[in-house]
């Protein structure tokens, strides 16, 4: 059983790298092409001072694209997984506090964002999804070396 895992792990790492990396690049890209909306989404969390929220709105998508690209290419996987995982945890905390405070917002994770109707919020779904990504990041942190990676 353990040797089966040892055999499979490099492929698992590749799969999870491509999965998590792909999601990060896609999510980053969708936000990067609509920077105003991205800034709006961050402001809607009512967590940061407005100028800092705007800064994150513009910068975060590119950060995601960078981390995602590194994961896909298999370069600096351990640190990218760490950064990706920490980002996901921050997202989970942000969404959870919005939920707890009774805000009605879209997470803005794949573009969009801002205020929505209270009966359209999908907080649990968004948190569970990001938790799944956190687990993927944890796996990559533990097993960073896999097939077709540039890390040696």
């Amino acid at each position: 059983m353990q040797s089966k895992f040892i055999k499979a792990q490099p492929w698992l790492t590749l799969l999870i790298r491509l999965g998590l990396g792909g999601v990060l690049v896609a999510a980053g890209y969708l936000k990067a092409i609509h920077p105003q909306k991205s800034a709006m989404a961050v402001r809607a969390y009512e967590l940061l001072p407005i100028s800092i929220a705007n800064f994150f709105g513009y910068a975060l998508p590119w950060f995601e694209i960078g981390v995602g690209a590194l994961l896909i290419l298999g370069v600096a996987v351990k640190i990218s997984a760490l950064l990706g995982g920490l980002t996901m945890i921050i997202f989970i905390v942000a969404i959870a506090q919005a939920w707890a405070r009774g805000l009605s917002i879209d997470c803005g994770c794949f573009g969009g964002g801002g205020a929505i109707d209270p009966d359209q919020t999908k907080y649990l779904e968004e948190i569970l999804r990001d938790f799944g990504f956190t687990l993927m990041a944890l796996f990559l942190y533990r097993f960073p070396k896999g097939r077709f990676g540039l890390d040696k």
Partner: protein, 224 residues
């Protein structure tokens, strides 16, 4: 063996460097293209101190700020429900009305906002405001709104001057739309429509889409 290791390390560092470079360039570009421009040409009716919005009745009180995006479907509904009343109080100088055309939905929002600003220069802002909402395409960023479309739309409300057409073709006020966007971002406007009276937002859940409650909210703030 060690030569291989070095060239692998070299490749790896090169890739990291390239990714970092692309990310940095992208981020810097994103920041720069969303900056306000202090040299942007602004329509005569626009006031920088009013968030670069288009101002009607500069000296009246109270002040009503309306943030919209011309492609936003809910803004169209808001215009249908309350547009007549807003036009009436603007025409009778019962309040200072400041319209902020935001452009976050897409490029066609910028075209529309530019056209609205061009129309403001010719005294037909409220007319084009209504015309734009009445001619929303039904899906955002559908490609319906082009420069030519804006000229025809202007035509249909009596804007036939060469200056209007040039203003639309040249995109004279496109830079101004960035100033509006930045000011709206700084004012923490996160969805459209957003209505503020004397700086305070009215109740989104009850007072926006109910014409009676909307009028009451304005009356409570001093609109006679």
């Amino acid at each position: 063996m060690s030569i291989n290791n070095n060239s692998d390390k070299g490749t790896r560092n090169l890739v990291i460097g390239m990714v970092a470079f692309i990310v940095l360039v992208g981020a810097i570009f994103s920041f720069i293209s969303n900056k306000s421009s202090s040299t942007a040409k602004v329509p005569a009716a626009v006031s920088a101190s009013d968030g670069y919005g288009i101002v009607l009745n500069a000296n009246a009180t109270p002040k009503i700020d309306i943030f919209i995006d011309y492609q936003c479907p809910i803004c169209k509904n808001f215009e249908i429900i309350n547009g007549g009343y807003i036009s009436e109080i603007a025409a009778n100088a019962k309040a200072k009305v400041v319209i902020h055309p935001m452009t976050f939905i897409g490029a066609e929002s910028i075209l529309a906002a530019n056209a609205a600003a061009c129309a403001a220069d010719e005294g037909k802002f409220l007319d084009i405001n209504i015309a734009l909402f009445q001619n929303q395409s039904g899906t955002e960023n559908s490609g319906l709104w082009t420069g030519d479309y804006m000229k025809r739309l202007g035509n249909s409300i009596g804007l036939k001057s060469k200056s209007f057409e040039k203003c639309v073709t040249d995109g004279t006020y496109v830079d101004w739309t960035k100033n509006v966007a930045k000011a709206s971002a700084d004012a923490n406007v996160n969805s459209t429509p957003t209505v503020k009276i004397n700086g305070k937002e009215i109740d989104r859940n009850t007072e926006y889409m109910d014409p009676v409650k909307f009028k009451a909210a304005l009356a409570a703030a001093g609109v006679k």
